[in-house]
């Protein structure tokens, strides 16, 4: 059987999603054997995708796993190129899916003001726009969420690709797994600002299990009742500004419903 051809790349990000692949130490030799890792600059020289010549397979990649938000003309060019060259484009991680940490202040301050803050006057020479998820620009076929993503989610995707399909996506909040682990409820029993009820599960409630409130790194769960979460937190004495600041750490766009 032909080995699926993969591209693994990053835009505006910390390389953590690509590192998650390299962190699959036990599985990596088998992944390298079963896939053709054509383009993976972080771990491999060469394989830079150029214009697809007549002798090159089309599409060039069976799947492209791309991390990071889109925040520069260069990011956009890379994204368009990989979209055009890949059968399946995977938004790999929270930045690619929701914008991530770089986008947290998109609603609060302008990109120019942030650039000037960090680089001073010379910063005005950099071409950069508010970091945005892939879906604002291209069609995305599949997404792995998380900052960082779970190894398990990545391995599930790779296994499914080998079988010619895509894995199911969990559609329950962090609280589901947290309750089944019988953790103390940080939100109701300790009054902490935990985002578990509105955030996508699948992480086995890692943070609440160590006594740390959910920071929302996996983004909104489907059908999240955001207005009710806001109400609950307001009733517990948190300020609206603090709540929105925490909510937007990984996802600037929340649907607060009637509370907007």
């Amino acid at each position: 059987m032909r080995r699926p051809r993969l591209a693994v790349a990053g835009l505006t990000a910390c390389s953590g999603c690509q590192l998650t692949l390299l962190n699959c130490e036990e599985e990596l030799p088998e992944i390298a054997a079963r896939f053709d890792l054509v383009h993976f600059p972080m771990a491999h020289s060469g394989g830079e995708p150029g214009a697809a010549g007549p002798e090159q397979p089309r599409p060039l990649f069976d799947a492209a796993l791309v991390e990071g938000a889109v925040s520069t003309p260069g990011d956009l060019a890379t994204l368009f190129r990989l979209r055009g060259q890949s059968r399946i484009l995977v938004a790999f991680g929270t930045c690619a899916l929701f914008g991530g940490v770089a986008a947290m202040d998109n609603r609060r301050s302008g990109r120019d003001a942030q650039l000037a803050e960090v680089y001073g006057a010379p910063g005005s020479g950099f071409r950069s726009f508010p970091p945005a998820p892939f879906k604002n620009y291209v069609a995305v076929d599949f997404a792995i969420t998380g900052c960082p993503p779970e190894k398990r989610d990545l391995l599930d995707l790779l296994g499914a690709l080998l079988a010619g399909t895509l894995p199911p996506v969990p559609c329950y909040p962090v609280c589901t797994e947290c309750r089944s682990r019988e953790n103390l409820c940080l939100l109701l029993e300790r009054g902490e600002l935990c985002l578990g009820p509105v955030v996508q599960g699948g992480c086995n409630a890692r943070c609440p299990a160590t006594g740390v409130p959910c920071e929302g790194c996996r983004g909104p769960v489907s059908e999240a009742n955001v207005a009710q979460q806001l109400q609950l937190l307001l009733e517990r004495g948190f300020g609206r500004e603090e709540i929105e600041s925490r909510m937007s750490r990984f996802t600037p766009e929340w649907d607060y419903g009637q509370r907007r």
Partner: protein, 423 residues
């Protein structure tokens, strides 16, 4: 006639960068190292956020170094508020830093550098041509990650490290499990240095200006920075000694220490006398000539010794934590006050400084992060120019190959470097 040799993108490094060498005929005129990672502007994002949010957000600067960013940020915030953590917390933080060191050094040594030593293109080549060596490297790396995941609660961007203490104490059976895992890879760590040697008959590079934290009795942390010229200064006053400027063609700033471009990382630590512990201390004398006074091409050897050191030290820390049991644990309450907190750690790639200003309510009003790769940027550019000139007229594959290898020996972490430091 002018021409340009371009290496774009730089591969087997963390983040996005490229190199241009400008030629006039065969003569090298200048080199331009472009760290082109898109800026994420962390210092701007932190302004207006509460103190508790700072370490959680700022560790996202970089995945490879997320643990040391988190610990340094916690120390800086704790310094600002005069918090002293318990012994168990301090030991646990040191343990996870050692785990980070093992993971980062083994990734660099076995996955990113080894292909060069064996003439391969990358990890897939290793999997085919040197499967045993790759498996050994991955087994070592896995243990570094196990430490990070067990202690930090998550592999990247650890959650269990919180202001004033730990989310949860590490249970005894986890400590015992980690001890067994380390024992299994200690022999491999002790042999890692055999994969590398300082290249013979290579062109000389400018003499390095080593910079590291002064030995304080606690590995990876310290209150003073020292240089190879015997100068030293307090971390808290770093702004008076480290100057930075924006480079037009790069998204990372150049840094100078006392007027010189500094060199940080494993090689600098060993040159400035960072203690190695028993095992690597016994190996050191035979490698001494390949490390002391050498340029960054000796960094892989220094990292290999540090890999062994980190494994040995992790084991000792686990014993200490096991002995400590439930004593010395407990979290310290953190109450904000206005002021500045600064802290420095030795990250795998070298000196890392975090500094924050808070108002009386604990809201962040100033943030500054100085990373190893931005400290190293000017030394790297200088080395590249010297090497390019020494290779004038060489065949183009050799020319680009040697330059790329030099860049890789720095183990640059471009995500870290780019987000820059305010002047």
């Amino acid at each position: 006639m002018g021409s340009v040799v371009e290496i774009n993108p730089l591969t087997r490094v963390e983040g996005h960068g490229s190199l241009k060498v400008f030629l006039d005929g065969a003569r090298v005129e200048r080199v331009e190292l472009r760290l082109s990672e898109s800026p994420r502007l962390f210092e701007a994002l932190l302004l207006g956020k509460g103190f508790a949010q700072v370490p959680e957000i700022v560790c996202r600067i970089c995945s490879l170094c997320s643990t040391v960013h988190k610990v340094t940020a916690l120390l800086a915030v704790e310094n600002a508020f005069g918090v002293r953590v318990s012994r168990a917390t301090a030991l646990t933080r040191e343990l996870i830093l050692n785990g980070g060191q093992i993971q980062s050094h083994s990734l660099h040594l076995y996955c990113l550098l080894l292909p060069d030593a064996l003439g391969l293109a990358g990890v897939t080549g290793l999997a085919r041509q040197a499967p045993e060596l790759l498996r050994t490297g991955l087994a070592v790396k896995r243990v570094g990650n196990l430490i990070q995941e067990t202690v930090g609660g998550r592999l990247i961007h650890p959650v269990n490290l919180v202001l004033g203490g730990l989310g949860r104490r590490i249970p005894r059976d986890s400590l015992l499990f980690l001890r067994d895992e380390i024992d299994a890879v200690l022999p491999a760590c002790a042999e890692a240095f055999r994969l590398y040697r300082f290249p013979a008959d290579t062109p000389p590079l400018p003499p390095p200006n080593y910079l590291a934290l002064r030995e304080s009795g606690v590995p990876f942390s310290g209150e003073r920075l020292c240089t190879c010229e015997g100068r030293d200064f307090p971390v808290a006053a770093y702004r008076d000694f480290i100057s930075e400027e924006v480079v037009p063609h790069s998204h990372a700033k150049n840094a100078r220490v006392l007027g010189h471009p500094p060199l940080v990382g494993a090689l600098s630590r060993l040159n400035l006398g960072s203690p190695l512990g028993t095992g690597p201390g016994e190996t050191f004398p035979e490698l001494r000539g390949q490390i002391i006074g050498r340029d960054m091409r000796a960094n892989a050897l220094a990292q290999a010794l540090e890999l062994h050191q980190a494994a040995e030290r992790s084991r000792a820390l686990l014993e200490e934590l096991l002995e400590l049991g439930r004593e010395g644990a407990g979290n310290v309450a953190v109450a904000p006050e206005s002021g500045r907190g600064t802290a420095a750690c030795e990250a795998p790639r070298g000196v890392l400084i975090h500094s924050y200003d808070f108002d009386a309510a604990g809201v962040c009003v100033g943030a500054d992060v100085v990373t190893p790769t931005s400290l190293n940027q000017e030394a790297l550019s200088g080395d590249l120019l010297a090497l390019a000139r020494a290779l004038e007229g060489a065949d183009s594959a050799l020319f680009s190959g040697e330059l790329e290898r030099l860049i890789r020996s720095y183990d640059p972490c471009i995500s870290c470097a780019v987000h820059l430091v305010r002047l």
